[in-house]
Symmetry: C2
Subunit: 186 residues, 2 copies
């Protein structure tokens, strides 16, 4: 027992394969059985590592948000940080097939985890001088707008028709800018 025998499965591997599956076949085709099949394992095996499909979706959503935080840095004030974060989240959501729908469906893994997540959410804005409750509220507004917009954008039939009439990216930026500029420092 030098260290630990590598198990056939890992939480990270499962989540990674789930992303590949969704990329290939779409979110509606993500099933525990298909996912297991891709890893040459029985569906039940996944339940040793993950409590269920809800947790799987939660972990995937967390990765998408994490990418947005990772893509935000070097802002001088909280408004600039919110603008950067909004753009980063938008591109993170758009870069995964059905990313927005996934984050819409997913719920925070545990009630306890929600509290920790909220602290993590507000931290960058607090560092830039915002009070905790204001930071949470503003961050929630930007996440809401961005998530809602990306869902709108991904809405197939609507999209094909609308993109003849407007530039989605430019319109998103205008909305984000309006929202952020109007938010009070309190």
């Amino acid at each position: 027992m030098v260290q630990r025998l590598i198990p056939g499965l890992t939480r990270d591997q499962i989540v990674a394969q789930a992303f590949v599956l969704v990329e290939d076949e779409g979110l509606d085709s993500l099933s525990m059985r298909k996912l297991a099949g891709r890893m040459n394992v029985q569906a039940a095996a996944i339940y040793w590592h993950i409590s269920g499909k809800a947790e799987l979706l939660g972990l995937m959503a967390r990765d998408i948000y994490a990418a947005a935080y990772a893509g935000t840095h070097g802002a001088q004030d909280w408004r600039e940080w919110l603008r950067q974060f909004g753009r980063a989240l938008h591109s993170s959501l758009a870069s995964h097939r059905d990313g927005a729908r996934l984050c819409a469906i997913a719920r925070p893994p545990s009630p306890a985890d929600a509290e920790k997540q909220a602290a993590h959410i507000a931290a960058p804005l607090k560092a830039l001088g915002l009070e905790a409750s204001v930071a949470l509220a503003h961050q929630a507004a930007v996440i809401s707008f961005t998530l809602g917009w990306t869902m709108f954008e991904a809405n197939g039939p609507m999209r094909d028709f609308l993109c003849e009439m407007m530039d989605f990216d430019a319109t998103f930026t205008i909305g984000l800018e309006s929202l952020v500029n109007g938010l009070p420092a309190k």
Copy 2:
């Protein structure tokens, strides 16, 4: 054949019962079989009236949006109209269990219907002096923010923790106001 024998089922009845089912058991428990069971009919019977579950969700979402339009009237300018619409949509979404998630999942029934819906969407704003493409863009921004926010708000575990720190309704209004005030007349 005086007029037409009333059939046991109607599209409207099916949609209405679907709302009742969701209210009782939540969106995750909405199945064609349970729905049929509530109407004392086989699941297959529903398919005579509705093409499938996707169309059912589309019809439900349409009702939710319709209520928002119905609750918007008497605005003097397009900004006031957008504020009213945002608030009306928010309360329409919040008044149906899982309403936001439902609208997030639902897609416009048909590609042809999307075009008609887009025209309907932009009409009130055009009447208040906005150019068609600008009207669509602004309306999309308000819908996105409102839908995203209501989803955030409905996110159980997160909610319980956050509502100790902020007033959801007040914060939503601040965000909506910021967004609308910042939008350009173009």
